[in-house]
C-alpha cells in the first residue's frame, strides 16, 4: 500500500530523516514509535506530503513520486498522492466555523464533488460509527477533546482514503479520554483499514499493530511484530527506549 524508499528529509542543516525504507501492507496496522526527535512525525507527514521529502521515492497505492533536492514536485502530482490517504492530527484541527456534520461533509462535497444528500448520509453513518450521532449539529468547540478527535477520524475517513495516518492522536487528550479514541481506532483496524500510527500508547501497539517500527535519530532501528519487538528486542537502544517507557522515573 505504501512504499517508502530511501526517504531523506532535511530542514536546512538539520537532517531529520536519514534514508528510510518502509513498506506498509494493505489491511495492516503499522505503529511507529521512537524517542522524541527521532523523526517519526516527520516520516508520517512525508507520507501525505505535508512535508515534502528532500530525496527518495514514495508510493501510495498506485501513485509513485520521486523527490530530488531543490526540485518542487508538481502540485497536481502532490494532490493525487495526498488524496490516497487521510490524516488524523494530534491537535484535531477541526474547522471551527463549521458544524461537526459540515466538517465531515467538506471533503466529499468540495473535493470529491459528491451530491450533498449522499455526502450527508455517509457522514451520518461515520458519526454513528465513532459514537457521535447526536453531535452532528454541534460546533467543534462544544465538544471534548476525545469527541473532537473522533470527529477528526470521521472526517479523515469521509474521503474514502486507502490508508489512514494518525499523528499522535491521543497525545493532546486527558488520560480519561484516551480510551474512547483508541477504541474507535481498534474497531477500524479490525475492519481491515490500513493504518499508520505514530503513538506512545504501547498497549495499543501491542494489541492492535501488525508491525511496530522503532525510529531512532532519523533511521529505522528495528521493526517487527509487536510481540517480538517488545519481548525480544535485538538492539540495546531498543531495550533502553522500551524500559524508559515502562519505568519513566
Amino acid at each position: 500500500m505504501i512504499e517508502v524508499k530511501a526517504i531523506q528529509k532535511s530542514f536546512g542543516e538539520h537532517h531529520v530523516l536519514k534514508g528510510l525504507d518502509l513498506t506498509v501492507k494493505k489491511g495492516q496496522v503499522t505503529v511507529i514509535i521512537g524517542p522524541s526527535g527521532s523523526g517519526k512525525t516527520t516520516l508520517l507527514r512525508c507520507m501525505n506530503l505535508l512535508e515534502i521529502p528532500t530525496n527518495g521515492t514514495l508510493r501510495v497505492g498506485d501513485i509513485s513520486l520521486t523527490f530530488e533536492e531543490n526540485v518542487q514536485p508538481k502540485p497536481k502530482d502532490m494532490l493525487a498522492l495526498r488524496r490516497k490517504s487521510g490524516m488524523v492530527f494530534q491537535s484535531y484541527n477541526l474547522f471551527p466555523h463549521m458544524t461537526v456534520l459540515q466538517n465531515i461533509m467538506e471533503g466529499p462535497v468540495i473535493v470529491q464533488k459528491k451530491a450533498k444528500e449522499e455526502a450527508k448520509t455517509t457522514a451520518l453513518q461515520l458519526l454513528k460509527k465513532v459514537g457521535l450521532a447526536d453531535k452532528a449539529d454541534a460546533y467543534p468547540d462544544q465538544l471534548s477533546g476525545g469527541q473532537q478527535q473522533r470527529v477528526g477520524i470521521a472526517r479523515a475517513m469521509a474521503v474514502n482514503p486507502e490508508v489512514l495516518l494518525f499523528d499522535e492522536p491521543t497525545s493532546a487528550l486527558d488520560p480519561e479520554l484516551v480510551g474512547e479514541v483508541l477504541k474507535v481506532m481498534k474497531e477500524l483496524a479490525v475492519e481491515g483499514m490500513t493504518m499508520v500510527v505514530v503513538t506512545h500508547e504501547m498497549k495499543f501497539a501491542e494489541e492492535v499493530a501488525d508491525k511496530v517500527v522503532l525510529l531512532d535519530q532519523g533511521k529505522i532501528l528495528e521493526q517487527g511484530e509487536p510481540s517480538e519487538l517488545f519481548n525480544h528486542p535485538k538492539h540495546e537502544r531498543t531495550r533502553a527506549f522500551l524500559s524508559r517507557l515502562i519505568n519513566p522515573i
Binding site: 502540485p75 494532490l79 495526498r82 490517504s85 468540495i110
Partner: protein, 230 residues
Amino acid sequence: MSDHTERLYHIFIESFLPLLKAGVAFTIPLTLVSFAIGLVIAFVTALVRISPVGPLRGIARFYVWIFRGTPLIVQLFIIFYGLPSIGLTLPPFTAGVIGFSLSVGAYGSEIIRAAILSISQGQWEAAYSIGMTKRQALRRIIVPQALRVSVPPLSNSFISLIKDTSLAASITVTEMFQKAQEITARYYEPMLLYCEVALIYLVFSTVLSHFQNRLEHYFDSKSAKKGSLL
C-alpha cells in the same frame, strides 16, 4: 432668552436640516460606496500579497506603501486637481470615491492579510489532508475564518472613513462639512455650526458602530464561540 441665544437657537434649527441633507446625500453615499469598493481592493490586494507570484506581490506592496505613506488629503488633491493636467478631469464625487477607496484598500489589505496569517497552520494542513487544493483551502477554510477575525479592525476603518469623508470638502464635494463651512460663512457662528456638524458626525458613527456590534454578534453566534456552554 436673550437676543443672542435666540439667534443661535434659530441658526441651529435652520441649519440642521441642510446639514443632515448634505450628510444623507453625500457623506453617507461617499462612505458606503468607497468602503464597498475599498473592501474589494483590500481583499484582492491581500490575496495577491500572500500569493506565490513575485511580481504581482511587488506591485501590491508598492501600492500599499504609497497609499499608507502619503496623506489622504494630498492623494485627493492629486486625483482631483492634479490629474486634469494629464488630461483626466473627474467630477468631485468620483474623485472622492477613487481616493477613499484606494485608501481603504491599502489599510484594509493589511488587516485582511494579517487575519489570514493569523489562522493556524493546522487549518491549512487539515484542508490539504482532505485533498483540497490551495484555492479550495483558502475559499472554504481560511478566508471565512479570517473574515471573522477582521470584522472589528475593518469596522474601525469604516468609522474612520465616515469622518475622513469630511476631507472631500477640500475637493469641492458639497458633503456635510463643506455645507457647514458654507453656512458658517453666511452667519459667522463657527463655534455653533462646527459643533453642530460634529454632533451629526457623532450620531452617524454611533449608529454605524452599533451595526458593527450586531455584525460581530452575528458571527459569534454562528461559530458558537461564546455563550454555547449550557
